[in-house]
Every structure is written in structure tokens, then in C-alpha cells.
Point group: C2
Chain length 310, copies 2
């Protein structure tokens, strides 16, 4: 039995995991806890509560894995920085061990945790060299290399969203220009559609903009109705996402790439073109094209993946 903690921007959920399934879970609201600076304290309370409810002690649990939406140091078990929750230099492992006794605490980036889950129970199962790309507000992901989660010299996240793939028309949150994330995220799709409208093109999207904030779903809806601006925005997304993914296939000779995250809700609008573009950009196909698929990631991937970190 293991425990997985999924630190999300809205809820922080702690689950008891066995054989890839969540037996029980408890949670608290992230932003409230952020306000009283009690995130770590509440995680510890949740773990104690979960153990008590299930008649075990924390020390009887094989390991406690924590998935963090930010930069972590896996080796030291610390959160380097998690901007959304105002966490900086938090020694999670030692704080938990102080309260819970001799427990194994593993701290990982949430995209890496999702990669672990997808590799154990999803489309990446059985692969030795593969990649998960999650596309939402930003672009993240993780790698399985030589059959294991790859996490570099300090166990940090693979910053897939911040590889430079072009010139770009707006500055990325990281301060650079041309990051994959500024071309191939949900944010980028919306920003580019708005840019085209600002540049004078007319679009069905304008009515929706007049009513309030638009999302990728609006762009996808209008694209389905044949809207040119929205189709262009998707086409650009496909082009740069294929460049980003092909870069990794060509360098790491991957056998499979799984695509997850919010934009996959509109996958029928881009998936076939994306596969075509990726294949076009892949060198040396003697051993066959790299397989590209939509990830099976479920809502619980964050908890299960965190629990299964090794």
C-alpha cells in the first residue's frame, strides 16, 4: 500500500493506492491553505487521517509520493518553487518525517508523476523510450528512457514547454521568446486567434469575445463551423507541436509519444494532421515511425502516479 499526494491549484488530494487503484482519499482546498500558510501542515493531517480511517500507521505504508506542479529536487525531497501555491524552498521530506516518523517520502514534479502512471497503467505501458506531453495552459511532460522515468541531475521536470522552436510573437512566462509553449499550448491557440482578429481578420470568435473570456473550446467550436481564423490557429498549433515532438523523436529515437492535457478534448480537430506532420519531420524511419497516441491519463493519474514514484 502506498500514499499519493496530488498538489493541485484547486484541491490537494491524498489517496491510499493499491494495485493502481485508489482505495480511499481525503482532500483540502489549496488556496485557503495557501492563505494561512498551512499547506504542509494540512497534508500531514490528511495523511494521518487517511491512515487512521484505514487502520494503518504511516510507517506501514511502503512510500508517500508527492506530485508538485512546479520545480522539485527529487534527490533532496524538496520543492524548489511552485509559483501557483507560493511555495519556495520547502523541505517536504524532512517536514513530513518530523511528524510521521520513519517514512519514505518522494517528491516529484506532477508531470513526472503522470508519466509514471501512464507508463504503468496507460498507453506507455511496456515502452522503453517514450514521452508524455501534456498540453493545457502550458506544455509539460516527462520521459521514460531505458525503461525508467528520467529525471536528470537533480530530479527536476523535463521543461519540454521551454525548448525554443521559432521566433514567436509574444514573450513566454519564463522570459524567453520562441518557447514551444508560446506556439503549442491552449494559451497560444487563443492568443494567436485573437492576434489574427486584431490584425483585421473577421471570425465567429468575435461574438464570443464580446461576451467574455474565451477558451480553447471556443476556438475548437468555431473551427468546427469552418471559421478560418480558428482553423489557422489550430494549423499553427499543429505545425509547432509537430516540430517540438519531432525534435525529441529525432534525438532520443522514441518508440511512442502520448499526448495528454486539456486540449485533447478537441483531438478530432488536430490529431490526424499532427501525426502526419510528425512523420514528415522524423528522420531515418528504418525501424518504423514513432507511434503517436492520445494518453489515457485519468483524473486520478496525479494521485496514482505520485504514489507509484520510486
Amino acid at each position: 500500500m502506498r500514499i499519493g499526494v496530488d498538489i493541485g491549484g484547486t484541491n490537494i488530494v491524498t489517496g491510499l493506492v493499491k494495485d493502481g487503484k485508489i482505495l480511499d482519499r481525503v482532500s483540502f482546498k489549496a488556496q485557503e491553505a495557501r492563505r494561512d500558510n498551512s499547506i504542509v501542515e494540512k497534508i500531514i493531517e490528511n495523511i494521518k487521517e487517511l491512515c487512521k480511517k484505514n487502520s494503518i500507521t504511516p510507517e506501514q505504508v511502503e512510500s508517500i509520493g508527492i506530485g508538485v506542479p512546479g520545480a522539485v529536487n527529487y534527490i533532496e525531497g524538496t520543492v524548489i518553487e511552485c509559483v501557483n501555491l507560493g511555495m519556495k524552498d520547502v523541505p517536504l521530506r524532512s517536514e513530513l518525517r518530523k511528524e510521521l516518523g520513519d517514512v519514505t517520502v518522494l517528491v516529484e514534479n506532477d508531470a513526472n508523476a503522470a508519466t509514471v502512471c501512464e507508463h504503468l497503467y496507460g498507453t506507455m505501458k511496456g515502452t522503453r523510450n517514450s514521452m508524455l506531453v501534456t498540453i493545457g495552459t502550458g506544455v509539460g511532460g516527462g520521459f521514460i528512457l531505458n525503461g525508467e522515468l528520467f529525471s536528470g541531475k537533480s530530479g527536476r521536470v523535463a521543461e519540454i514547454g521551454h525548448i525554443t522552436v521559432g521566433e514567436g510573437f509574444y514573450e513566454c512566462g519564463c522570459g524567453q521568446r520562441g518557447c514551444l509553449e508560446t506556439f503549442a499550448s491552449a494559451t497560444a491557440i487563443v492568443k494567436y486567434a485573437k492576434k489574427l482578429i486584431k490584425d483585421g481578420e473577421s471570425s465567429l470568435l468575435e461574438q464570443r469575445i464580446a461576451k467574455g473570456i474565451i477558451e480553447t473550446k471556443d476556438v475548437f467550436d468555431c473551427a468546427k463551423e469552418g471559421d478560418k481564423v480558428c482553423l489557422s490557429a489550430i494549423q499553427r498549433f499543429v505545425k509547432y507541436l509537430s516540430i517540438g515532438i519531432a525534435n525529441f523523436i529525432n534525438v532520443l529515437d522514441l518508440e511512442l509519444v502520448a499526448i495528454g492535457g486539456g486540449v485533447c478534448n478537441g483531438h478530432e480537430l488536430f490529431f490526424d494532421d499532427l501525426v502526419k506532420e510528425i512523420n514528415k519531420r522524423t528522420l531515418f524511419k528504418a525501424s518504423g515511425n514513432c507511434k503517436v497516441c492520445i494518453a489515457e491519463l485519468k483524473n486520478d493519474a496525479g494521485i496514482i502516479g505520485a504514489a507509484m514514484i520510486n
Copy 2:
């Protein structure tokens, strides 16, 4: 004792290697052998000759490693394609075993072989996650990940030179646009300087162009005299090389990047700026900047690296 075969465009050299040193070597001219379609036959002859001279049999050698300047399938021990020598689908391992008996034959890309040598005996020694980038006519290289040469699903080369990093003004040999190689190779430096001259800028380089073919050395020479066109060409090279290298540091969290290849002869003209640009583009520096250095690769790295392939 091991044998390393370095398949070069000019010479194909077979060396007897022990403790990182070449004890003896034999060679033949590559292009002559290409003409009579006798490359594999001559490699076998060279191995027999080398063994005879040193009073051993091929079967007594621990392994025979072959470094190929092209795409290989490490697992099957075949050359997929080596354009410069007209080799395509050559089952090197089985051909050698047919003539030499029960020997271990390992076929690797030459950049990977050089990476192995640099990792065992050069600047990459002791690293767990590092990269060799070799910059000459093209851009190649190899990765050490989790302490071992990484070679993907079929043991092919890491096509570092063909990651897309921008738009580019000429088409790459691979048929794509925007490959790192079209910005950050010796070829790209010369092409860009010539482009600036064609676009109307004046340069010291023009006198040299009038006399014949110019090389990176000419650009470096004129840059030392303060020539603006040549300085611009080097600046562009630095910018895109830093983008390419930072992409890998950010994703693979590397501890060291070693730069080798012909352009390093002019390293005093670009190295300091390159390191600055790479650091500027590197995210999350909590565990310190990635070290960047000039590789120690010697002329014999191809032979020694090939011999040391595992």
C-alpha cells in the same frame, strides 16, 4: 584487448586498443574501396592483419566495435545508411562473423563512439547526464544519460543537428527548414557570411572569396581583424547554438555539455559568449548552471571510442 574500427570519409582505420591507448593500427583509403565495393572485405582483411601482427586471433579479442558516420541499427549490428560511402543496409555484424568466427561485433554511430571515448577518458568522465556536441560540416553528438550512452529504440544516432530551432534561410540536407545544423555548423557560418555579402554588406572576406573556396577559418581570421560581417556570422552561430544546447539542458537537466569538432579551433572567438548565452537561456538554476566546456576529443577518439562500445 579490443579492436576499434573508425570508418571515416578519407581513411578507414582499424586499431588494437588497450587501456584507452592504441597499441597498433592498420588502414586503407575509403574512397578507393568504395569504388570497388570492397569496404567490408577490406575491414575484415585489416582485422586479420592486425591480429596476425600482434599474434592473437580475432576470437581472442574482447569485442570489435565499428564507428560509422551514418545511421546504424545497434541492436542488429547493421549500417542503415552511410551516404558519404554509399553504404545502405549492410549487415556488418553477420558479414564479419562469417569471416572471423565467434566474435562480438558492435556497430555504432561515430558520434556515439566519440561520446563513449569522451565519457571514459575526457571532459565527460564521471558524469551521469551529459552531452557531446560535435560541430563541423554538420552538427552531431551523443548523450550520456543515467551514466550510460543513450541510443534510443534502435541504437541510432542522436540527431542533434536536426532539431528545429528557427526559420532559417536555406533548406537543410535532410529536406527540412530551421534545423540547428543550418544555423550552428561550420557550413552555416560560411553560408551566412556569404549571404550578408550578397545582401550588399562589404567584408574582408570578399578578397578571399575571389581567390577560391572559403572555410570557417577564413571567417574566424577576418573576425579577428574586426570584420563586421564575420562578427555577425559568429554572433548568429552563438545565438542558435546556445538555443540548441539550452533546449537539451532544460529538458534533460544535464550536468555538462562538451563541445567538439572543427569549429573549436576558433573557440576563443565564441566560447565565452556561448556560455553566457546558454546560462541566460537555462531555467531553474537551483542546482547550479550546467557546465559547458571544450571537448578533449583527440584524433584517435573515433578508434578508441569504437573499441570501447558496449
